[in-house]
Symmetry: C2
Subunit: 321 residues, 2 copies
């Protein structure tokens, strides 16, 4: 499944989202404009605006509102990435230098703030108050999640904590996007709830697949060293499954006591997890979530948009990067 | 003029704003709650919510909306202070340790983000779309102003640049608060425009007085070393007036070329400015702005709220800290 399959029906609409995002920097200081240009050029597959455009089109939402929503969601996402990369000291994202690799931290903090401001402004331009409320709430969930992760001891092996973390980090914004796209359409509560769950399941699956690819992915296309999460004390689903099956493994036992900082031991543990079936098991969990998302879709009449959403959902587990 | 004069009519309402702000941390991580508690406890005179409450009451806006607006504005203001203090490496604000004096930069970045999120959520809860739009726009102006200041060479002596900077930094939020308070009232465009200018003039005066107090203030109550702006290469109104009158003063000539970094020369220049009448001249400019604000007030019938707003406006130039 290539990215093209789900993008084809909305290639033109995604261009409008890009234009809308770029227009946000118009009145800004030239250096800030340059920074935003850099961020937007290096910026991913626009999977969140795609989700919003497809869900909204399925329910007859006006294109203008979906473009505004898509730009708001993607700028919000970009803002959180800018601050995340600063906090993590990351120098590369998707193979391109991060903002903080080129700019001093103060300018990076403020650029993130500017993106938050423009995202909030765009959200307001959808002219839909419950959507604005949802937007503010989702941003709180994301930031609170990041802070909670920061205050949680590294090396923690806890599945419940894991699900909460990936919800805050990733699924909350997918959930919001799908729900908001229905909000600006004529469809009612039933569609909204179905699409909320659709977005939620997609988001959870997306992050689980990310975490699996950290173990199994092609290192060059993932763009990070293998097992980088574990090296940073972040115990994700494949490692949690492995820990549940091997509770007395000395490397596992060492994790909550700072053992994740021992590079040699972690390389061993990462190889053990790779050799085990637990990465595949985690992938199956992601697939099960996508299946559940698809049953939500089936509640609605078949059409081109539904097909595209089905392809989008399947891409979430088929992707290699 | 004591702060009490203008606060008396709304002592109870300000308590509601405080409660509303504190409630924003309820679902947050305990450490984040503690940080917010610290920020709210050490937090100033609530002059922005006071402005919103008084203006809104003058035009019969519902209290609930004014409390929500006040909490949104004050949290937005607090968020910008948190990121500012981080960027400046400030360890004290209003005599109490800043967040970044106690927390690591990553937690400080995220706490600011959380405050932005809650401010946006509160703004959405006013149930008023043009207000939401104005809120997003104002946040963009503030952040763009900070970035512009960051990219502007220090030591720049330019009055136009100064006015633009203090508008973005301070006046834009006062302007927005007064305008938004009318928006949620039954009053029309005329009241909105009058109060927009009222808030604008108050905000410009507020910052000019701040900048004058940096030269003339009682060092212990201002809480910063005398002339700290100039020591940081920030040329404010008293120094600009002085420079316009003494264009060949060697210390003035040195400023755009980094002369502001020479501590001894700056102490001399600060003393020259203090001995000159230019701090008083800047204060007169602030007073003229307050007079203009008062003429806006006179367009409306006398009442307790109008009296309180008059007292508030006068306090802006009479304050010593």
């Amino acid at each position: 499944m290539s990215a093209v399959t789900f993008l084809t029906p909305i290639t033109e609409e995604i261009k409008l989202v890009e234009e809308r995002m770029r227009a946000q920097a118009e009145a800004a200081h030239p250096d800030l404009r340059a920074a935003l240009e850099h961020l937007l050029k290096s910026g991913g597959k626009r999977i969140r605006p795609t989700l919003g455009l497809l869900v909204g089109s399925l329910f007859g939402a006006p294109l203008e509102k979906l473009v505004t929503l898509g730009a708001a969601v993607e700028l919000l996402h970009t803002a959180t990435l800018v601050h995340d990369d600063l906090i993590d000291g990351a120098l590369l994202r998707r193979g391109t230098p991060t903002l903080n690799a080129r700019w001093a931290p103060p300018a990076t903090v403020l650029t993130g703030d500017f993106l938050f401001a423009r995202a909030a402004k765009l959200a307001a331009e959808t002219d839909h108050l419950p959507l604005m409320n949802l937007f503010g709430e989702t941003l709180s969930v994301i930031v609170n999640g990041e802070l909670t992760q920061m205050f949680t001891s590294r090396g923690l092996i806890n599945r419940d904590n894991y699900y909460k973390r990936i919800y805050a980090k990733t699924a909350s914004l997918f959930e919001m996007t799908a729900r908001a796209a229905v909000m600006v359409s004529p469809a009612g509560e039933e569609a909204s709830e179905a699409m909320r769950d659709f977005g939620y399941q997609l988001g959870m699956a997306f992050q689980i697949v990310d975490d699996v690819l950290d173990f199994t992915g092609d290192q060059t296309s993932v763009g990070k060293p293998l097992g980088s999460d574990l090296h940073n004390g972040l115990v994700t689903l494949p490692a949690i499954y492995y820990a549940e099956a091997h509770p007395t493994d000395p490397h596992i036992l060492s994790l909550p006591n700072g053992g994740w900082a021992n590079n040699e031991n972690m390389v061993e543990l990462i190889n053990q997890i790779r050799a085990s079936g637990f990465a595949r098991q985690a992938m199956q969990e992601a697939s099960a979530r996508i299946d559940r998302a698809l049953t939500q879709l089936e509640k609605f009449e078949p059409c081109a948009e539904r097909d595209a959403l089905e392809n989008l959902a399947k891409y979430f587990v088929d992707r290699k990067v």
